[in-house]
Symmetry: C2
Subunit: 224 residues, 2 copies
């Protein structure tokens, strides 16, 4: 049904590269999957398709571990038109229950972004989903300067969470990394705790990379 787990970074990248130019429909056929007519009710379809195709078995679903744990690599598909991302990129959910003493280096955000396999996917809405093609994949890690800004953004968000100032958590904060609502819908609430240990019911949220940042990543990759 799906491919074996790649054992090395080179193997994973080679597999991803072999998808270059292939259509979503072809890749789905090979796995005996049907392509939905559109992504409205199957928003995660392409991401899961590519992960299956590369041998990611979803073994680490719901765990704060990279998709390819043995390699320490996270897979991200990214919708692209003319070399530019059309959407921001979800990183992970934001834990509003504060566990004291979280640091950048062991945060979920850092662990997800430490090493990423980016797989660009054609996103032109005029093209039927099954006919869209896969672009050139590449492995990326944040530069020292990228990491500095990501960390600074992260710390700004986390501070607000720690202080229980949830109302100030909105999408306008953060240069590269923003925080936005995330959940089943706007009624999707979760239990949160402030620094004082008070409990509250708060809208669930997630961390996202801004398009402006992922655009930089894609552009740099093209120059390689």
């Amino acid at each position: 049904m799906s491919s074996p787990i790649p054992n090395t970074e080179e193997e994973l990248l080679a597999k991803a590269s072999s998808l270059y130019g292939k259509r979503i429909g072809e890749i789905a056929d090979a796995l005996n999957l049907c392509v939905p007519p559109n992504q409205k009710n199957k928003k995660g379809f392409v991401g899961e398709l590519i992960e299956l195709s590369l041998g990611g078995y979803k073994r680490n679903k719901n765990l704060p571990l990279p998709d390819f744990e043995n390699l320490g690599i996270e897979l991200k598909t990214i919708p692209v038109i003319d070399g530019r991302p059309t959407e921001s990129t979800h990183v992970c959910s934001a834990a509003l229950k504060r566990s004291a003493g979280e640091h950048w280096k062991n945060s979920r955000v850092f662990r997800k972004l430490e090493k990423v396999l980016w797989v660009p996917i054609q996103a032109d809405p005029r093209i039927e989903l099954s006919q869209r093609v896969v672009g050139r994949s590449f492995i990326w890690s944040p530069s020292t300067e990228d990491e500095k800004i990501l960390r600074s953004d992260w710390e700004e968000h986390v501070e607000l969470i720690t202080l229980g100032r949830f109302a100030e958590l909105h999408g306008e904060r953060g240069e590269y990394l923003q925080i936005r609502p995330k959940g089943r819908n706007s009624n999707s609430k979760g239990l949160s705790t402030s620094e004082l240990g008070e409990s509250a019911i708060t809208q669930s949220r997630g961390f996202y990379l801004r398009k402006s940042f992922t655009a930089k990543i894609l552009k740099y990759a093209c120059l390689l």
Copy 2:
């Protein structure tokens, strides 16, 4: 579909008392619910039926709050034959992820048992479920001595959890309060952490009141 939320303890008790002598089938009819032929695949049916019937909307489902939060009262149905319970009584799940500094007075066990509305249910297996009748409900709180023993049992269990000695958590410990497996099945595992922050995968467990203890509660109530 279901009754309004009772506003006072008296109102709640009066409602529960009005169920005295009624059959499960009658109560279910009034809520347009069907009674399953047996409880094997609907083990929680009676408990949920009575809760609905008393105006507990399940608002606090999955939260560590009493069923009737406004009154601080937890509802427990208890299967009875000849005035004696036929089963032990589930209290709450046992958190195997240790949060340091948990105390008896703010433990889930204490908060669940601080004040309980007991609703006895006829449990004779020779009588069809829909024909079984509701007994005399009563509100109970642990006596000083009860609480002393419950607390001592609780502390014994919690100490083992804190020390990560999960293998020693078995059903024979505890005079009134025992700890037993609880979950989908014996493969139902969860992440646990010891005091030292070690992680482990452990069988999920729950706290239960022994039959011998609930028998005492029922007997005392009959003398009132």
